[in-house]
């Protein structure tokens, strides 16, 4: 299912993120945007599957815990994402391939720098021949 060239981005659509997403897709055509209703509803097994099958990375864009439209959504997901990172670590996969970015939707520049950093890190990692090398 996973495309090895792509980074998957799951933005929460409860708040306005239209301009941000347009900007991201213009700058990075290899980022696949899959909108979800709230970061709290994101099924982390999906992230595990995508990363296990070789996707470059998975990002979840959500509102800061406390600002969530559904009040508790991002609190739960923050805890769950912590566990997801540990799952990747337990199976010997780089935990940096999964990242959740908590931001204010109006804070445009800060979010872009975070995504820049993530993309840079992942592409650099690829040059070293890091993750697609699977044990035989």
């Amino acid at each position: 299912m996973a495309n090895k060239e792509l980074i998957y981005l799951f933005p929460c659509l409860a708040e306005q993120r239209k301009r941000l997403l347009q900007e991201i897709q213009k700058k990075y055509p290899f980022i696949q945007v899959v909108p979800i209703t709230c970061a709290g509803r994101f099924n982390t097994s999906l992230a595990l599957k995508l990363i296990h099958e070789g996707a470059k990375g998975v990002i979840v864009l959500g509102c800061e815990p406390g600002d969530c439209h559904y009040r508790e959504g991002s609190v739960f997901s923050e805890r769950r994402f912590l566990l997801t990172k540990h799952t990747l670590k337990a199976f010997g996969i780089e935990e940096d391939r999964f990242q959740a970015i908590w931001h204010k939707p109006s804070d445009f520049r800060k979010t872009m720098t975070e995504i820049d950093r993530f993309v840079k890190h992942q592409t650099e990692f690829d040059h070293k021949g890091g993750h697609h090398e699977k044990a035989n």
Binding site: K49, R79, A90, G92, I93
Partner: protein, 330 residues
């Protein structure tokens, strides 16, 4: 000493027994050293149950909602007496906390235990087939078909989890009967062998770890035994692995190593907050895959990150499903 405890259990049960109750305990099976679960509905049959060092099966699984329905008759109104070791009592606490069964339905009988024998370890060391295994205070004696006796120290052949007494801690719960000397048990838990094992996740670099996991899980045949025996797995018919027609297919049915790794990844990720580290999945595995390296890692993570240990009390909601205002976020 074990015989004494067994008699005490029988005595206690005959005292608290009421007509219409159910007892879940162990009984002898035909093969040497095998103990199987017994479901007893009559007072006279209580004497059939046993408790010794071979009772390795955890009986907590039978309290789950779905499993209970399979055992109980339709018009059941009594209480369910469950005999368990201190490590299984944790799993029972977790079933209470997950609201799988009401506490009023269960009377819990915790039995003092000084280690359970791993039958496979004895069988591997004796070349010929075994006729009988007997138990003394500190030794296990296996007799093979030629009449030769092999003696093992108990510490050599017990389950790996018994080396760590943190599993033997009693839960914070007031509704159980304790058979044995409670003070001595608590002292033993405090003082004796507390090992801090180093897991491969700490020692190996990621590439080697991946290689090792790849090798181990290539043996997996996806029989679902680890899922079915796990006291923390209770989604029954709604399990993600039983839903091949979901819009997003998480896992297909082909048994390949890549799929096996994903299977165990998703399973441990789901179970991590409820896992008490009882080790049933590893015991049930027909291919002897060392699953402890995963669940021990996750148990440690939950303790370090959230300060939470599953199975300590009967009413603590797990941290991934509950949030109180003013609580720390992570």
């Amino acid at each position: 000493m074990k015989k004494q405890i067994e008699q005490n259990v029988h005595q206690l049960l005959t005292e608290i027994w009421k007509p219409g109750d159910l007892l879940i305990a162990w009984k002898k099976a035909s093969l040497p050293g095998h103990r199987i679960p017994a479901f007893i509905y009559h007072k006279e049959e209580i004497q059939e149950t046993v408790f010794d060092s071979f009772c390795d099966i955890s009986l907590a699984k039978y309290l789950n909602e779905q499993n209970r329905q399979e055992i109980l008759p339709n018009s059941f109104q009594g209480t369910i007496h469950v005999v368990c070791k201190p490590c299984d009592a944790k799993s029972v606490m977790q079933t209470f906390a997950d609201q799988q069964i009401s506490e009023d339905l269960v009377s819990l009988i915790v039995v003092a235990c000084d280690g359970v024998v791993n039958r496979k370890k004895i069988e591997n060391q004796i070349e010929q087939s075994i006729v009988s295994i007997t138990e003394t205070d500190y030794q296990m004696i296996g007799t093979d078909i030629a009449g030769k006796e092999h003696a093992f120290e108990k510490r050599e052949v017990w389950l790996d989890k018994c080396a760590d007494t943190s599993h033997c801690e009693l839960p914070y719960y007031f509704g159980y009967y304790f058979v044995g000397e409670e003070k001595e048990h608590r002292r033993r838990v405090k003082n004796l062998y507390r090992t801090h094992k180093k897991l491969p996740q700490d020692t190996l670099p990621p590439a080697d770890l991946q290689k090792m996991i790849h090798q181990e899980l290539s043996r997996c045949i996806r029989c679902n035994a680890c899922r079915n025996i796990c006291p923390a797995c209770f989604c029954s018919d709604q399990c993600v692995f039983d839903k091949p027609k979901e819009p997003v297919k998480l896992l297909d049915n082909h048994v390949t190593t890549e799929n096996n790794i994903l299977y165990h990844m998703i399973r441990f990720h789901h179970v991590a907050p409820n896992c008490t580290g009882c080790g049933e999945c590893e015991r049930a595995c027909p291919k002897d895959i060392p699953l402890h390296i995963f669940y021990e890692y996750f148990n440690r993570c939950m303790e370090e990150e959230f300060g939470y240990k599953a199975g300590k009390t009967n009413d603590e909601r797990q941290k991934l499903l509950s949030y109180n205002l003013g609580e720390d976020l992570v």
